[in-house]
Symmetry: C2
Subunit: 867 residues, 2 copies
């Protein structure tokens, strides 16, 4: 009944029900709260009567009477929302006290100081919450009296002092609120309940709900509970404890308490609380009882509990229990151990871990306790943190790395020429380019931290310095980046290493047993493939051959191929590339032995391999002004002409993907041959390899038909030449809307589909990722026009609809068509769930996200079992 | 049975059936042809026997015998495809002649010269078609003998000469083909039939089919028909006649004939044929009979006929009749007059006009008889032809135009700064940019001829000349362009003015009565709106406000707005634009009084209004090298920085459309205010105006919800300020795939949808139009991967599917949602048919295509009536 009673109310009822010592109380439902707001802040009819009836029950159970001068019942009034919103809403303690009842309490407890202290606290809290008199008004008075009395702690104040404080409190309340402090306990209670309801609507609650995506219309419940007092002397106290250690997951009671204190004192930090085990010395019986209760609660709720308790005169009361917050690492450990203890099933263990939070375990991160001097913010292009000497040149980065130095490569943007510098650097920082810029894509593939498009950076290559606002960082000085958040930090920062604990490993093995989809990795070289295997990848879902083209030693040949004047010249260049590519594929297929490897044929537009047009223009002008050799100028001009001829207004929608294969079949044929020749070598060496040739950017069945023919013919030739049989399949990326709506036809020529959701998102929404992110997409998220960044979380309503059309189309033609996803969404949990729901066979993501995908995939299967 | 017998065979059978004098014959079906190719060029089993049986019928009817020495039957063998392919395939006459039967013919006719002439012609034709001996081999021999005999015409050759020619013919046949000329008539016939089948596969037939979109698998029929002879003396002859004048449509017999000649002589042009009316003098009986037959055939086929006839010894034979080809102008006249004559209905008249061909009637074109020196070819960006002095500068163009000179504006590309030059020029020619470049879009809007992206042009602004291959054209010299074909022509060319004949006007009025969709125009100013009205537009479907922004006097204010440092500065610039825009809308709404006007709020990315980055870089470098004023350099550098910050990797998918409205609501609010203030002025002046405010580039209902609110609030304010009620609607362009799949939601906030199929095609296919056309799209069309250019003919399988989804979605939410199309497809007949089929309410196109759209829309309704 959590949605009606709120989390706290439901738990209190539950604890009472299983016989635990909970102070008697009543809960006003969330429904009443919703009606309260609907009725313009009027309490629902009949509610007050119900409260008084229930209050009588409490009076009976406690033997006290609300408002009674002799033996008054005091209550707490607390909010209790459905989803925990710690500290966000208001609480009032000691309600029921007034100038009369305070005397009754004093007499009853034989402790006037205690009674006055309670009254003082009550006035302070109540006036703050209900009457709008701010906290500091009271603190000022209190501090004044403590100074006057020359004492440090509240409980050292004399009775006289407390009495004066109370008088002054009431004066200030009257002055600020214009009203007397209410003496009638029933008025106190009704106004307090209304105020707790109102606190659901306060600004910080709004912000919290927004951040945590909690709907407004849930409302909050209100818990009215008889008070117990931890501040009644040295056999009283109050504390908070976790049933297991929330930071490392160890199975041990973890918490703290204060003797002779009320709950707020623990939080306030004025007195230092004792660790919970100390209670064994202080109050051994209570400690023993508490251990019992803790075990009972954990067993009952089948999860680690966060318990609030109070000891009143050597009697233990439980004020609250809830599932304890914990770090991801300890969440994993606790879940796995609870499976071992037979408390929960493997499926439940998997449901308890949020895959989104695994990222922090897979990359080094900045020590959360470190003080940071954040000077700029860019795009979080590749997760992980890094510190290093600022270096502006790839060669220099490489040289320094060889000397064992940590380097941070800082560039306006990177190009294929910088690859060796990226390899050498600890991290990459650029001032231009988005989440799909060269630096971002390469860094993610390598699992290297990267912050991109940090426009506050003014890089001066000539002076070898970078200016960030008022800061000037010269070459060799240290900067740090946090690729998970985009932060750029001055100086070195302490890093925390990633950890793949044994528990984590076991959890992932269970995930593999459960999940319905296989998890592959996107990898372009043997090293990444090896890493992917270690992270549990069951194959490669996307091997981008263009990354091989960009390697520094190959780029000149690639450029030769592009600038070829005729077919013959082009084929000559391709012949030089053939053995190089063959070796690439040999290495990757070998590293993924036993698993399928999807190799995508060349995808980017050819001009990506050529120099930038504007830079060439500048170069030529400079050569001219220097009066350089005319022949050299001419050469550059010819190159410029070629570059301009290949330049495109919208390269994303230009001459790329299979369009290159249609215009220049010789390129794809060379790549197919390289794949098959590598396959032959491996088969001869006794390896089991499964190459899957993937044609990108298909929009029509005819394209695939024609290009598949080229691939099949090449395979046939290689088989004849080598007199060896081998297996392969041919399929396509589905990454344009037209491919989705014509999937039935395309499937006729495809052995598999793989959704390229990066491009599919770009075209479905008409969003160029490079132009949207960090620019207008920000406005869209801030103004809540889109709920999530569609490049991070798959857009189910738009892109998802098209995927559904494509899956249905493809499977209607071939019921067993292999279908996967290889866009970056393949490593994002909500998107993985969607893929599971749509019946995909595999997801593929960067090696470092493979564990996340394994868990997310298992989670989807547990939540929505696929037969 | 046209698809089985071919056009010619079916018509011959039909004419025989209605009792007209047709020489007896037989037809071999297209099915036989298809089987022939399927069986690797083997005639279907049983076919030969069937031929011999049918041949006996012919022998009986003619009293002659195939291969008989005394009274031989001669036949013609002709192709007859389902769709007419004039002159594309082969024909053989006089088959059945050999060294023996030629004597029989000579004896029977008492005309040895005639018999020998037939034999000579037969050898020549047969050897050419069947044996691969080319025509000119025989012509050489013939010419030699004519020279020797000193005669001009074939029929002046002596019998002896003809005998020698025949001997030499046979020698050359043997020498070249390696085989004797076949003497056996049955062999001759079978080989001839095979050759006619084969001619279906010859290269020129392939090309013709490609151009005319005739499917290959139709196959051709073969007609074997007994010969009649027009070359048997002066009471014989042959001719061709149309039942109406095919060039102007007048109702008069039109054609020509030759006395004593066979069909080929008429075509060969060696003797000048007589006009058909001359036949009344030559053979009055035959003429009278022919007139009767012509009337009968036209009445029977209910269309103008193209009749081939032969007169053999004063007996008229009909060899063929078919619907006559005609110019578009005459087609219209004939159709309209046939309605008046009660022969066909208005609906049939509409079905007979191909809307695709109306274009030539709506723009001036090059005189089809002119000799042209075509020196280059660019993209046919805006139809019509123009000649003018080559001018490279807009100001100069304007000045010359004021002096009454015809100017052709030649630029690498045009920018908003050139608008006055474009207005002044007769036509525009650019060396860069595609079908959607600035020059193309502006020229189409103005109905001005334009050829774009003509890369062969090397323009030298400094020397003021343009080089095209070997030709150098200096400023002031004359060039011509044909914007309908992309041709660039040296010198001036004779032009033919467009003509909107009374028949055309009447046809369009009928079309309006019939069609189910209304036709609107895309127009951005009062002049175009006026023109659109004259062409019959029923409103404006797309008014692009950015074209107003680009006018020379406004650009500085627009730039001020874009470069504004803060909101205040931007609003100041917008305030200056407000009255200007108000006047724009005032003029357009007034010109379209009584009809709806869809006004699209600002759509292009802001950087389109700023200078080009590369040009700025060059300018800055030049300033630096010149040692110019540092302040000026600094200014330019700041501008460059701003330009670079706004530059986008893929502007098509960038910060444009309603994304501008989301980021800068003040821009759309200013535009909405301008629309409503103009509306108020017009309402006060007594005009009926219907503004429709259109939000572009929507991908999500939330965008429209937010932006519609801004528009509605602005309307409310203007109503309050002016104390005047007015009507308006708010809707959206549907131009991205996501808008299509989320149309149900979007419709909740929209009064209308208008498909922007240009952008929808770009994103659905992932084709940037600028990059695709004239580049890789060419490969796609040549390799038949796509059937049509998707930017010209709406892609039904891809884009069409998404349109269907959007229409269904939108109408499921609002059954009466107004839906139209305003991309360029709105003026293309096949796309208009699709819009009709999908239930759209209107199409909108450039003013000059409105008549085409009216007709195409009516045609769609006749073919697929919508209730």
């Amino acid at each position: 009944m959590k949605s009606l009673l709120g989390g706290k109310g439901a738990n209190l009822a539950e604890m009472t029900y299983i016989g635990l010592p909970v102070p008697p109380g009543l809960t006003i439902t969330t429904e009443a709260c919703i009606n309260y707001f609907a009725a313009d802040k009027e309490l629902p009819q009949g509610l007050e009567e119900q409260i008084w009836t229930k209050l009588q029950d409490i009076e009976e159970k406690t033997g006290k009477k609300f408002g009674d001068k002799k033996n008054p019942l005091l209550v707490s009034v607390r909010s209790g929302s459905v989803v925990s919103m710690p500290g966000m809403m208001d609480t009032i303690l000691n309600l029921g006290l007034n100038d009369q009842t305070v005397k009754g309490v004093a007499e009853n407890t034989g402790n006037e100081r205690f009674a006055l202290d309670c009254y003082r606290r009550f006035i302070q809290m109540y006036s703050d919450v209900v009457m709008g008199v701010q906290h500091y008004e009271f603190e000022t008075i209190l501090e004044k009296h403590k100074e006057k009395a020359a004492v440090k702690n509240d409980h050292e104040l004399s009775i006289e002092a407390l009495k004066n404080i109370i008088i002054e409190y009431k004066v200030i309340v009257k002055r600020i609120s214009g009203q007397e402090f209410p003496q009638e306990p029933t008025d106190q209670l009704i106004l307090a309940i209304k105020s707790v309801f109102d606190s659901w609507d306060n600004p910080r609650a709004h912000v919290y709900r927004q951040i945590n995506k909690i709907p407004y219309d849930l409302g909050t419940a209100v818990n009215v509970q008889s008070m117990v007092f931890g501040n009644m002397g040295n056999s009283s106290g109050t504390g908070v404890a976790f049933t297991r250690n929330p930071s490392n997951g160890n199975k041990e009671l973890y918490g703290e308490y204060l003797i002779n204190a009320q709950g707020e004192d623990v939080v306030a930090g004025i007195r230092t609380p004792q660790p919970i085990n100390q209670l064994q010395q202080d109050l051994p019986n209570i400690f023993a009882q508490f251990i019992q209760v803790a075990n009972l609660l954990e067993a009952h709720y089948r999860d680690m509990q966060d318990i609030e308790f109070t000891i009143e005169n050597e009697k233990l009361y439980l004020l609250q229990t809830r599932n304890g917050k914990r770090t991801t690492a300890s969440a994993i450990k606790i879940a796995v151990e609870m499976v071992d203890e037979g408390v929960i099933s493997k499926e439940e263990a998997i449901l308890r871990i949020d895959p989104n939070q695994l990222d922090q375990l897979l990359h080094s991160s900045i020590d959360p306790n470190a003080k940071l001097n954040v000077v700029a913010k860019g795009l979080p292009a590749s997760p992980g943190a890094a510190s290093g000497k600022v270096i502006f040149d790839a060669n220099e980065a490489e040289a320094l790395r060889k000397d064992g130095k940590d380097v941070l490569l800082v560039r306006t943007e990177t190009t294929p020429d910088d690859i060796h510098g990226i390899v050498a650097a600890r991290g990459i920082l650029t001032s231009r380019g988005g989440m799909t810029s060269h630096a971002a894509v390469v860094a993610r593939g390598m699992g290297k931290p990267c912050v991109c498009g940090c426009e506050e950076l003014k890089i001066d290559y000539v002076e070898q310095k970078v200016t960030i606002g008022p800061h000037v960082i010269k070459k060799g000085e240290v900067l740090s980046i946090d690729g998970s958040t985009g932060r750029v930090i001055l100086g070195e920062v302490p890093l925390v290493d990633p950890e793949l604990s044994p528990s984590f490993q076991r959890l992932l093995v269970w995930a593999d047993e459960i999940k319905a989809m296989s998890v592959r990795a996107n990898a372009d070289n043997p090293e990444d493939s090896q890493k992917a295997r270690e992270f549990g990848a069951q194959g490669i879902g996307l091997c981008r051959t263009e990354h091989m083209f960009m390697a520094q030693d190959r780029l000149p040949i690639v450029q030769e191929m592009i600038l070829a004047e005729d077919l013959e010249e082009r084929e000559k260049a391709l012949e030089k590339l053939l053995p190089v590519q063959e070796n690439d594929f040999y290495g990757i297929l070998k590293a993924m032995e036993g698993f399928p490897v999807t190799i995508r044929l060349l995808d980017p537009p050819l001009h990506e391999f050529l120099p930038n047009s504007e830079e060439l223009v500048i170069e030529i002008m400079e050569l001219q002004h220097k009066g350089a050799d005319l022949k050299k100028i001419k050469e550059k001009k010819v190159l410029l002409q070629k570059v301009k001829a290949l330049n495109e207004a919208n390269p994303m929608l230009g001459h790329r993907g299979c369009r290159l294969g249609i215009s220049h079949p010789e390129i794809y044929k060379m790549q197919a041959r390289a794949i098959f020749q590598a396959t032959v070598r491996l088969v001869r060496e006794g390896y089991n390899v499964y190459p899957e040739v993937e044609i990108p950017l298909i929009i029509d069945a005819n394209e695939l038909k024609v290009l598949r023919q080229d691939v099949d013919e090449t395979a046939k030739k290689v088989k004849e030449e080598t007199n060896l049989e081998f297996e392969y399949t041919v399929g396509t990326m589905i990454e344009l809307p037209r491919a989705c709506v014509t999937a039935v036809e395309i499937a006729k020529h495809a052995d598999f589909f793989s959704f390229g959701t990066n491009d599919l998102t770009q075209t479905t929404l008409g969003f160029s990722r490079d132009d949207a992110e960090g620019k207008f997409l920000q406005d869209y998220l801030e103004k809540k026009i889109l709920k999530d960044n569609p490049f991070v979380v798959l857009d189910r309503d738009g892109v998802g609809k098209l995927i559904e059309v494509a899956v249905n189309g493809g499977r209607s033609e071939k019921s067993d068509l292999l279908i996967g996803i290889c866009g970056e969404h393949g490593g994002e949990p909500s998107s993985i769930e969607f893929c599971h729901l749509r019946g995909l066979d595999f997801v593929s993501c960067s090696p470092y996200r493979v564990p996340i995908a394994r868990l997310a995939s298992a989670k989807a299967q547990v939540a929505y079992p696929r037969s």
